[in-house]
Amino acid sequence: MSEVSLLRLEGVSKTYRGATKPAVDNLSLEVRAGEIFGFLGPNGAGKTTTIKMVVGLLRPDRGTIVANGHDVAVDPVAAKADTGYVPDNPDLYDRLTGIEYLNLVADVFGVPQAERKRRIGELLGMFELGPAVGDIIQSYSHGMKQKLALTGALLHDPAVFILDEPMVGLDPRASRLFKDMMRSHCEKGHTVFFSTHILEVAERLCDRVGIINRGRLIACGTVEELRERRKQADETLEDIFLELTEPGEAK
């Protein structure tokens, strides 16, 4: 793991129009090259909001986000070019075929022909999506759509790979494949940032985790570090999570 940070959030805040409380409140964190970062938090904590700001779908009210050296607010196109994103519920164009969607993505990301062919073949083969790729997306199952979205997000081998609850809807084999893939993606010196509710996965897979509650980052570090900080060596990540995010608890 190097010290180069591929994703950096500094004092990021976001209040939805009309809301009284911020959905994300002064959030700062850093994800380094070669690192898998797990983003945890209860429902409505602000995970999706944070992720949407990182990929440029929402504009933060305050703070800066830098992806692979590009400020998302200043040079959004360059930042997006180095980012791959899969939303929590990938609603793809129902009336395109899988391959038409992938070609759109590859064209806009400027993936060269030979590279495109190799990557698409590789990823579709891995996800066993090859036979369906000529059909319209409307005919896909939920998991197939997710796999297609994953394929699209990985076509350009992004330095920063952002996923919102990626494990939902994947079958055990795909889920395993996917975890291996995240690992190998990081070994190339890239970084993976994903939100999840599955704490066992986070505990096993992530180099570091951040826990967000009511818009604020309340803990961040390796699982080991979190344990030490609470001086309870035998706690699982689940115990820590539940205690930290207990409703009514001040912080």
């Binding site: 959004p76 391959i99 005919s139």
Partner: protein
């Protein structure tokens, strides 16, 4: 059961008019409060202008027809016209609402009979029709009431009842073939195509029918003579029309004779016809409605066919520039969505049919004289080029394609392009190019028919097409920019993105204004004796200047609007 259907209808209406959504959006969150006020003002003034115009026309028509004791004809014609309109628009609306609304996946698993769901959906269409019909029919009812000196309360009561029942029968006349078509189409793998073709056939037939009826109808200033002729025969005009479509005459008698026993009898007949038609719809619908809907849920996958071949195909695609790729996807998405095609391409079909109809109308000596005068006019070649150029522009303004470019993405899909590394300029340009290509291709049949009819020299057709391409592209860019500025992303059915979208109205108004200004200027210059071809060159120059300015605007605004466009 009745309560169940009622709550279904209420939920549908709530969704249709976005009541809960607007309350949340405008009242709870208090954002953009000026918007509903502005929109209400704009629509209100537009509706008021239209309403006053119709009131005046109806009053004029009443005074002419009352002179020969046929005042009630005003009602008959008003009602008949409104019903024809409902039938034309109804077909597309029925297909869209019955078969392509997103909540069907939720409704069908509920313990409801197909007829109940159908009734709920029908109520939604009906409610939409009332909004539009109010502008057209109420002025006619008021005009008659004021001038004919009818008795107050019974007339008002009958008016309300007639108004409410008015769209029912014509809507069902459109709905039954639509349901049967979708039932058949559901069996086929090409059901979307079938739905589109059926829709266009319906439009073409109704336009032709309208035209044939119109050429038989009296010209302006001849009504009295015509009516007198009618009176001389045994039948009054009311009966003549009524013989073709009895409900309109029942409605007329119900209104004209409001307060009398005969009026009451006609009212009962009119309402009864509506009820009967509705029952027929439910009976037919209960049998075939779901089969058509369920057919629509199957996406026609060809799984297993040449599995590896498809992957290889990816490599066969040449890599395209982002703009080209975005434009291509845009066109695919548009042409594969029946509701979009039925809405956006209607003009492409309607105008050529109208041109053909005009061609046949040439047999009428009066119209033929007009034609000859037009064809022998000096500078026809240049004027023809302008007309062709204007045709492209009108198509662009009417098609709604550019002015819904971003709205059509909706909340569900806008993230896809927003997450891609494409600048706002690239995305907007892709959408504008896609709209332009579809419009230019759609203009070809009309230009071909026009050319066949008028026989312009090749140079003027070529010039006209160049003018048309430039003029429609100016509108495509402004439309895309406009829709990027304030897209309507919050829809549940794709149909809403193109049908209930105010940006479409804005586009038509902008198009109308530009064509009025440019057309007015052109005809003025020609009248002042400027050589016609120099006017063509002048208009071309103006269009190119507009286009250049728009490209500058695109560069300056698109990226910022793209960043601000939060789904």
């Amino acid at each position: 059961m009745a309560r169940r259907v009622l709550s279904l209808i209420l939920a549908q209406l709530n969704m249709n008019f976005a009541i809960s959504h607007s309350r949340y959006y405008y009242l709870k969150k208090r954002q953009r409060l000026w918007e509903p006020v502005l929109i209400a003002l704009a629509i209100g003034s537009l509706a008021a202008t239209l309403g006053v115009g119709i009131y005046k026309a109806a009053s004029y028509y009443y005074s002419t027809s009352a002179a020969i004791g046929q005042g009630a004809v005003t009602l008959t014609l008003g009602i008949l016209l409104a019903q024809v309109l409902v039938a034309i628009l109804g077909f597309v609306l029925v297909i869209a609402v019955f078969y392509f609304s997103n909540d069907l996946g939720i409704l069908i698993p509920l313990p409801l009979r197909p007829a109940e769901v159908l009734a709920g959906k029908f109520a939604v269409i009906l409610a939409n029709e009332y909004v539009g019909l109010a502008v057209f029919v109420i002025p006619v009812l008021v005009a008659y009431g004021v001038h004919a000196g009818v008795s107050g309360v019974p007339y008002v009561l009958s008016s309300v009842l007639v108004f409410l029942a008015l769209p029912v029968v014509p809507l069902i006349i459109a709905a039954v073939p639509a349901i049967l078509l979708m039932r058949v189409a559901g069996l086929s793998r090409r059901k979307d195509t079938l739905a589109m073709i059926g829709g266009f056939l319906f439009v073409a037939v109704v336009v032709l029918f309208q035209f044939l009826v119109q050429t038989k109808a009296p010209g302006i200033g001849e009504e009295a003579e015509f009516l007198a002729k009618m009176l001389a025969g045994a039948n009054s005009l009311v009966d003549v029309v009524g013989a073709r479509f009895p409900p309109s005459i029942w409605a007329t008698r119900a209104l004209a004779g409001a307060g009398t026993l005969q009026g009451l009898y006609s009212l009962v007949l009119f309402l009864g016809a509506g009820v009967l038609a509705f029952v027929a719809l439910l009976v037919i619908g209960d049998r075939v409605f779901y089969q058509g809907v369920l057919g629509g849920f199957e996406a026609g996958a060809r799984r297993g066919a040449r599995p590896t071949g498809k992957v290889q195909e990816a490599a066969r695609y040449p890599s395209r520039s982002p703009v080209a790729s975005l434009a291509l996807v845009e066109m695919k998405l548009f042409t594969r969505t029946p509701v979009y095609v039925l809405n956006g391409f209607t003009g492409f079909v309607m105008f050529p049919v109208m041109f053909v109809a005009m061609f046949f109308a040439k047999r009428d000596p009066q119209i033929a004289r007009l034609w000859d005068a037009f064809l022998s006019a000096p500078g026809l070649a240049a004027v023809g080029a302008l007309v062709i150029g204007a045709y492209f522009f009108v198509l662009a303004a009417m098609s709604s394609i550019p002015f819904t470019a971003f709205s059509r993405e909706g909340k569900r899909h806008i993230w896809i392009q927003r997450a891609l590394p494409a600048s706002g300029r690239t995305v907007a340009l892709g959408k504008a190019v896609a709209a332009e290509i579809m419009i230019v291709l759609g203009a070809i049949p009309g230009v071909a028919v026009l050319e066949y009819v008028v026989r312009l020299p090749l140079a003027s057709v070529a010039t006209g097409i160049v003018l048309g391409i430039i003029s429609s592209f100016t509108l495509c860019i402004s439309g895309v920019l406009f829709d990027m500025w304030r897209p309507m992303l919050n829809w549940t059915d794709p149909q809403k993105a193109v049908k209930s979208n105010l940006n479409v109205v804005a586009g038509m108004l902008i198009g109308l204004a530009v064509i009025a200004v440019l057309g007015g200027a052109a005809s003025l210059f020609v009248k002042f004796g400027l050589p016609a071809w120099s006017v063509v060159a002048g208009i071309g120059g103006v269009l190119i200047a507009i286009l250049a300015a728009e490209m500058k605007l695109l560069g300056a605004l698109a990226d910022r609007m793209w960043g601000a466009l939060e789904g």
